[in-house]
Symmetry: C2
Subunit: 336 residues, 2 copies
DNA sequence: TGGCGTGTGCGTACACCGTACGCACCATGA
DNA sequence: TCATGGTGCGTACGGTGTACGCACACGCCA
């Protein structure tokens, strides 16, 4: 992952809704700092604020919104990180002109941000997503807890950046293989590999509410290019894309629960393993589910549900189906 | 319905770990009351406790485990609810004999339990899973907060029960339609319908480890019966089952995030909608993703991702693939 | 007929979370 | 010089799940 990605995520990812992912805040409509950010953005859209204009000072904002100084500062900092605004120390913050040229400025801030995201990923990787907390990340890095908020704005944003970084670990090749099927396979396997490495990801991503994730878009772009030769209408292509993604995610989600369970209680607890298996087998073999029972006993003793094989098989089956459907279509839809 | 994981159970047998779902307790190995429950069950297995034996009293347990009285009582009550033990007030608790005949006794306790589960489902349905809290359920029912623990043992158990009740709303018909494909379709649609009604389920299901869910087993049994005519080996049948489930769940997870977002901030918040869409479009149409952009503009203006259509299409494609694969197989695998 | 021991019931409190707030700080420019 | 700008972080609030502490009602035996 390049730090450019991080900057991107930081700039653009702030649009996440607080509470959309994290479990807190059942009634809070919107985070205070976010409200201010939104308002400034609206003023930018309506033209009430022009590039070069000076924003209200931190204290002015705090007074106007009846909010703590730090909260107003947080809002301004967030805006600055997104690049829509430029903080000029000891002078004020002014609206950045045009399409935010500041994307390439590398500072120590970005470095710290990267460390934070990496630490968070490490925690999520080997302790599971529920074990990830801002306080924990801070402790791991030896930083004061609240200082993290100077770099990540909120936990949701942190999760967003984690996803972005994780996906950036795998890169689509510059030169795609021949044929739409091979390209779809490649993309799916790539996504799968990422999910394997970071099981928590399956729960963090959501394709539905389109966050502008750089890598997700690159991925989508790849899929669309692959499908071009099939001449599917736009709507159909989009559906194929979503379905493929849903398939990978569907398996990955199961992968996650496995990883979580393993991570959370060292698995060596024999009692823990036995507890449910016993109950499960007792019910399963109660005679009320004869067909399932038969299959269960028909399994080889050392049967292992290999998620990799499962994934490959499912992918193959699905692409077979798609290929058949395309072949049935009128027009030149050359398979493979 | 994590029958995906049921297969795993055959292999290693995971368990529902307390704390696997709830976000608390990052380091707590296992809940105190659960430890006691486990120990008693182990003694039952090893024969140290025989049917008819008297268990240690609440106070004795509390002393021995260095735990509060109420915690020991909680453990005993949990055991009683599971039917492995019978509480005789003012006398003690004795080990129930044999395969727990008490499954059918309906008491006011079960009634309250049902009310709790229903209230919880109602909350999750229209406020989303993150808004579901024990305190909230208690408030909704006008019950003292801690009194809920007399009926549900823990939030994890509550989630488990919610899933069970939700799935029980849809019933597989007694007489299956003709042909394996129609049967698989029927089962998948049934599961899908449940997920639509209760979007939160998609996330709960895979968190709940392979508990012996009655309905999940019925579902698995149905699938296995449907696949019998295909003469797939046990291992393959299991895989098909898991894959089908993963597919439905994969789409359902996306459905959930949509539902959550809608529930959380009344959607009439124009700013909220604009915020993400604007950022998304700005990046998407930046010229770096030409193929995706082309598809995006090729969509009909009012294009909305219809999850129902998506589901049907994906199901069709996948079953097409499976059918083709079965037809290619040696032996009498009559399709349709 | 006490009092001891039983399970019962619920209010309080703890540990943890995300993060808004309060305040001390420092660098500037008028 | 000092008011005014942003900076940095400790504290505290409102939330969570649930263990703990204590009061209670009853059955048995002295």
């Amino acid at each position: 992952m390049s730090t450019a990605v991080l900057a991107q995520a930081a700039r653009v990812g702030q649009g996440l809704r607080t509470g959309a992912i994290c479990t807190s805040t059942k009634t809070m409509a919107i985070a205070p700092y976010q409200r201010i950010v939104d308002d400034v953005k609206r003023q930018l859209r309506t033209g009430a604020l022009q590039p070069g204009d000076r924003l209200p000072s931190t204290r002015e904002l705090a007074r106007r919104w009846k909010v703590a100084l730090a909260t107003a500062a947080h809002a301004l900092r967030t805006l600055a990180q997104e690049g829509v605004v430029k903080a000029v120390p000891r002078v004020g913050t002014i609206v950045a002109g045009g399409p935010s040229r500041s994307g390439t400025t590398r500072g120590s801030a970005d470095l710290t941000r990267e460390r934070i995201v990496r630490a968070a990923i490490a925690i999520a990787d080997d302790e599971g997503l529920p074990a990830l907390s801002i306080r924990g990340v801070a402790a791991k890095l030896g930083l004061p807890v609240m200082s993290l908020y100077r770099y990540v704005a909120s936990k949701d944003v942190l999760l967003f950046m984690m996803a972005e970084v994780a996906f950036a670990e795998e890169r689509l090749p510059a030169k795609p293989p021949a044929g739409w099927r091979a390209q779809l396979e490649l993309a799916a396997r790539l996504e799968w590999r990422v999910f394997q490495r970071h099981p928590w990801l399956a729960r963090v991503v959501n394709l539905t509410r389109p966050q502008p994730q750089e890598n997700a878009l690159a991925y989508a772009d790849w899929i669309m290019r692959a499908l071009e030769e099939t001449r599917l209408p736009a709507q159909e292509a989009m559906r194929v894309h979503v379905l493929l993604h849903a398939f990978v995610q569907g398996i990955a989600v199961n992968l996650e629960s496995e990883a979580d369970a393993v991570a959370q209680s060292g698995m060596n607890d024999e009692e823990f393993m036995r507890r449910n298996l016993d109950a499960f087998l007792r019910v399963a073999t109660s005679g009320r589910f004869p067909h399932f029972e038969k299959v269960l006993t028909g399994l080889r003793p050392g049967f292992d549900l290999d998620f990799d094989a499962l994934f490959e098989q499912g992918l193959g089956v699905w692409l077979d189906g798609l290929e058949a459907r395309l072949a049935r279509r009128p027009g030149p839809a050359k398979p493979r």
